[in-house]
Symmetry: C4
Subunit: 278 residues, 4 copies
Amino acid sequence: MKVDGDLARQVIRPRLRESHKGSYGRVLLIGGLYPYGGAIIMAAIACVNSGAGLVTVATDRDNITALHAHLPEAMAFDFGERDRLLDNLRAANVVLIGSGLGESDAARQVLDLVLANIRPDQNLVVDGSALNLLAKKNKKDLPDCHLTLTPHQKEWERLSGFRIPEQTVSNTQKALGEFQAGTILVAKSHKTAVYQGEKVAHLEVGGPYQATGGMGDTLAGMITGFLAQFASIDRYKAVTVATWLHSAIADDLAKNAYVVLPTHISKAIPSWMKKLSI
Amino acid sequence: MKVDGDLARQVIRPRLRESHKGSYGRVLLIGGLYPYGGAIIMAAIACVNSGAGLVTVATDRDNITALHAHLPEAMAFDFGERDRLLDNLRAANVVLIGSGLGESDAARQVLDLVLANIRPDQNLVVDGSALNLLAKKNKKDLPDCHLTLTPHQKEWERLSGFRIPEQTVSNTQKALGEFQAGTILVAKSHKTAVYQGEKVAHLEVGGPYQATGGMGDTLAGMITGFLAQFASIDRYKAVTVATWLHSAIADDLAKNAYVVLPTHISKAIPSWMKKLSI
Amino acid sequence: MKVDGDLARQVIRPRLRESHKGSYGRVLLIGGLYPYGGAIIMAAIACVNSGAGLVTVATDRDNITALHAHLPEAMAFDFGERDRLLDNLRAANVVLIGSGLGESDAARQVLDLVLANIRPDQNLVVDGSALNLLAKKNKKDLPDCHLTLTPHQKEWERLSGFRIPEQTVSNTQKALGEFQAGTILVAKSHKTAVYQGEKVAHLEVGGPYQATGGMGDTLAGMITGFLAQFASIDRYKAVTVATWLHSAIADDLAKNAYVVLPTHISKAIPSWMKKLSI
Amino acid sequence: MKVDGDLARQVIRPRLRESHKGSYGRVLLIGGLYPYGGAIIMAAIACVNSGAGLVTVATDRDNITALHAHLPEAMAFDFGERDRLLDNLRAANVVLIGSGLGESDAARQVLDLVLANIRPDQNLVVDGSALNLLAKKNKKDLPDCHLTLTPHQKEWERLSGFRIPEQTVSNTQKALGEFQAGTILVAKSHKTAVYQGEKVAHLEVGGPYQATGGMGDTLAGMITGFLAQFASIDRYKAVTVATWLHSAIADDLAKNAYVVLPTHISKAIPSWMKKLSI
């Protein structure tokens, strides 16, 4: 599958006039635990700018003010409120867990709660430290749902057992095969590829100006936003296009920037999606 | 009534030189209770940018820092301070309640306090979850005041008893007739209309790029700002023009944005009002 | 005295190469007590953008995060820390008190502490609610210092005893005469004038687009910044030019804005001062 | 050594395609203790915009929300958490201490902890009040590491024993000789110079529009970012170019600004570095 603006145009279709915010999905983002509060803020900024209908963030209570200073558009609650978390989990079309989650006991508990309650019809995007926690689990025990994994090479090493030099396409496909059928893998590196079953899409965008903290959180937020909004589109295409767009925007910004800040990518999403939709 | 720039020009008149901030109204905005703090922030940003003279926000104490990070122009206090709330209620020309209010006991109590103390000469705008709380009350018990309701279709279903497919003009007018005479209804949908008594104005602006969280809070803030500032103008015209302007700005921003963020609309209000005033 | 760009050019001179931040004054801003936190934030933003060398804010502890979210350039401490307040008071060239101070017991106490400790060589700018507190004091008891008062008409009524229709030039000069010699009065209205002894400067800038909350706080911050930075210039000229610039910028912004936000004025100060300095 | 764009181009090389955020260094910034929270925020903004790979801030817990409101890209923790501080210290390539640190007991303790644990292979940048604390120590007791000092004239007086009029090149080199070999000195004044051993580079950029609070914190953040990112480049060149770039950007912004705000310099860093890298 060639990944370019043409593929993006297949996903980013003009919106139907008779729609409302519920038409574009309900998202629950879980992460940003101390001392990593900024990560889920960046994911949320990306997700809202990608066009998700309703975005709710479960994070440290102390992190809510900074989130709202950036993004009053998102609702936010204390991730430790178990009942509220379960309510939001039930209502969500797409759940992202992991951006700035850390690996504390609290992080493990909230991940376990999500894994125990996610439904087969729901999307679950696992990012960042949640991938390290997942690596310690038996893949057979993972719940049945639409799973997307977004590891960088070191996280994929922990998940797949393949060290970085061994992360060839065939080894990666083999390791991905241990997850349930349909699982999507966004294998992040200087040559990012997106996998599902036998499919693999190599991206020809992106560059070293993206090598800065928060870049992955922003990508995770975009993927989540695309899955929420383009629910009627093939999931693999939606994830691939979100990943492509993230780096295509970075390439453009890098014409005038030595390092591209994650939040600058997010601000550019609506105008790029507009251009691709017409 | 045709709703367009010409109608807007009738409302948005050049300001008189001999005026001061008190000339443009005192507004009290009530909402933004945990976990919905962002909603009242968006309403306040819209209200200040619409030109209200003095804007005060009653919200969760924890929400004040995020509000001030966006908008030092607004005063803000803990909604639980009963005496301060009553003082501000007395001083206000226009009160907005509901954006991010939720339906907790605390939310119910503050709504009841407002309904028990509002005066016939004051404007009350009821938005969001406060509409759901209102739906549980007997309409005969509502206080005498200048009332404006801003429900989306599901909220109007609860208020009117008419399910969404039944929300025709005549049914809507019939249901509106159960509220006191003069009540204005902003019936939000993909074809928003503004009602008062026998009058109905159908808007021909707006689009699905507005289908994102916070859009309604921003509209409620604009309506409140217009009622405060244009107190000598026919209320129905003022509300209709505020509603029109909200979507007219969105249409313009959507030329370069797949999804239009509520706060982006607010930033564009002063320049649009200027253009319409000359 | 004609107040225009030519006068401004006499005050806003190119800076000397051999200078450092201490050359441009130390400022202490006191105010922003709950529920008026935003006021001192706006004063501080204006003061830093006006070019004051070092700006420190004494405010409610809960207000510091919102201040720093706008302006990391300012230091900030809890106004209730008496020793720190006295240390900062001693070190300051210019003290502003009143923007968002309120009239609580705590407000009264901090005003009294300032009045008891200000020195004859220091500038004291009194704004907002501190003017109301001052109105209750015997003018004979006010300390010897370089005093600037920035009342709007209602505040001047309380201070002068003259009701608004009676606030003629001669009555205003008479009332100003009861303050110590050299006291500067910025009499804010839709035709603002600046007084000192027999001198009066009528401003021909400004308009009703400035009639919004926070406009006065921003002016107070600019006046404070000018007094700090242009310490070798005649104080009356410096205050007059700061007041003129505040409205001259508003006039310019109002070409594209129905209402001019206070923080938008502040952002434009450095470029205006640059243009006037060459 | 002539310090200009040509030297900058030797340092700011195009990034290698096969790299990741770890390739650009791990930074630990320590400071921003009450009431100086803004200082470390400005250092962090500068550091991230300079291209450091991963930036972590140790500061007052109360300062984290304001930091994240500016910069979700940085991680942040309570500087009083000794174990976490030691973990982050161990992982860092470059440590900055001093911006807004103050001279309290807590400040002294955290400085001592850093001095006791820094390794010979690590860079330590000492700025602001940490320089005053250092001045009270015996230079023989300072640890072996790659040290950079960034004093202004008064701080250098305390460190060197030379009063400001005595701070000639030869006296400065003599005083610098008392520190371990290789120590870099950024001697800030209206004619800033950078020293290492016998080398001295006089900068011909910068001006009095930089005489405002936070300018030094921003410079410290840039130097830290350059040391982290350009680890394979001669340290003296990297520090000199960071210092040059800081003022070169200020000179450019000053064409349209009477006073240049520190955060405005930081925003311009990525585009300047891009231009210098091609």
